[in-house]
Symmetry: D2
Subunit: 140 residues, 4 copies
């Protein structure tokens, strides 16, 4: 499994009158986190789009266990279990520093689309190779 942790300080703009992060913003955090995770694994998403492949979101689900507060430093864990074929499934877990209880969990599923033909395609080598390196256990 590939695991990456993205850090985000909760902004004022992201909090609602309940003084907690408004629920829609976690999808934004997830996007920022997976872009950084892919970059860390060796794939710059912008470069992928330049090759004519885009990765639209096809499904998303979230569970809000506990609220995140203004100015908390969040740890957004990005977890990828399987090398993508037609879809890339990414799990997320949001923690706030020093608190062991998970705040929010979620799953976002992306597919691969050929931008010129506007058609779904299999994950291109640029993507699969990254996850083969990142997920496959290294044997000494």
């Amino acid at each position: 499994m590939y695991v990456y942790t993205y850090f985000h300080r909760v902004r004022y703009r992201e909090c609602d009158p309940m003084r907690v992060v408004y629920h829609a913003h976690y999808l934004d955090y997830f996007e920022a986190a997976r872009t950084d995770a892919l970059r860390d694994a060796g794939l710059v998403y912008r470069d992928l789009e330049d090759t004519g492949v885009m990765m639209p979101v096809v499904e998303a689900s979230l569970r809000y266990h506990r609220p995140c507060l203004y100015d908390e430093l969040l740890e957004v864990r990005v977890l990828v279990k399987e090398i993508p074929k037609t879809r890339l499934v990414i799990n997320y877990e949001v923690y706030a520093s020093k608190d062991p209880k998970v705040r929010v969990t979620g799953t976002v599923t992306l597919c691969f689309v050929d931008t010129t033909r506007n058609r779904p395609i299999m994950a291109p080598p640029l993507v699969t190779e990254v996850f083969e390196r990142a997920i496959t256990p290294k044997i000494g």
Copy 2:
């Protein structure tokens, strides 16, 4: 079942470089749609908060079937099947005018919280009465 349709014209700000609505914004549309739906059914959410009850989102899921484009006039259908007890489950279907194919579907689950004690509670009468009127079939 209670059904309400909310209309929204897609704004430039809501579209991403793929020229379609960015996936997180549907949760915003859902919020705007359910607030209007509740108002139409007789419940002003702001008034509910004034009585010391808030309704945080506890779960959300979305399926993106087809993209929505800049400037399209969307119909966001709000569907409530059951009178809420501890949770209010709302289904959503997003259509664009004249196109019979559904673009996005989703479900958002909210609970009821006593704001002074910060504890989950049963749906207060202000909420259940609204849905009893809205959902229960009228017999002539």
Copy 3:
């Protein structure tokens, strides 16, 4: 002068922990308001982009006189005084229903860009004609 009024009900998402509209969102309201104003005057911005002209914002300024609250119904007045040459200057005034005191005022200046050459151009006839009709006083 061309005057158009756009209505917007303040959403929960748009309010911050001070329980008022977060200051950045007025630029969103202004965009929604001017798109509707242009449509009302006879110009669909999407159609303009289809002819190869886009209108990026080059300057914006805002003054926050009084806060707008959650669930208030806002009147966003769009005022255009002059037929655009190289720039379109739009003034905005935000009121909340029944309150005569202005809440927020602002100015947004847009220019015209040829999308293929990525160069500023004079306002195309599609735009100037709309404002000539909208601004010029009709004489019986």
Copy 4:
């Protein structure tokens, strides 16, 4: 003068169909930048609110010189010239790494409000002391 640089990688969500950062988001960048700048100077804004003082924005202006693109790493420079009395004036300059040409400039003016009485007040010592340390030249 107090100068602080905040870094931000442009997110997909922040870009519009012109493939550049949507103009309203710079106000978000400015907020994130000034919160980090204040923290760096010794003031945690959340702590200030806990003492019963909030700092609403009263004026903002922006000039968009050149667009910022998806995935660019931005440098947002926060500049404070004067120790605040009734207002804190902050200037901003946005650059993208390695490009010497400024992309966006802006000014945001904040005031100080006593949250219990909801009245404007002079900058409290917690704020002025921070800027006295940060702005006043250190003499050897």
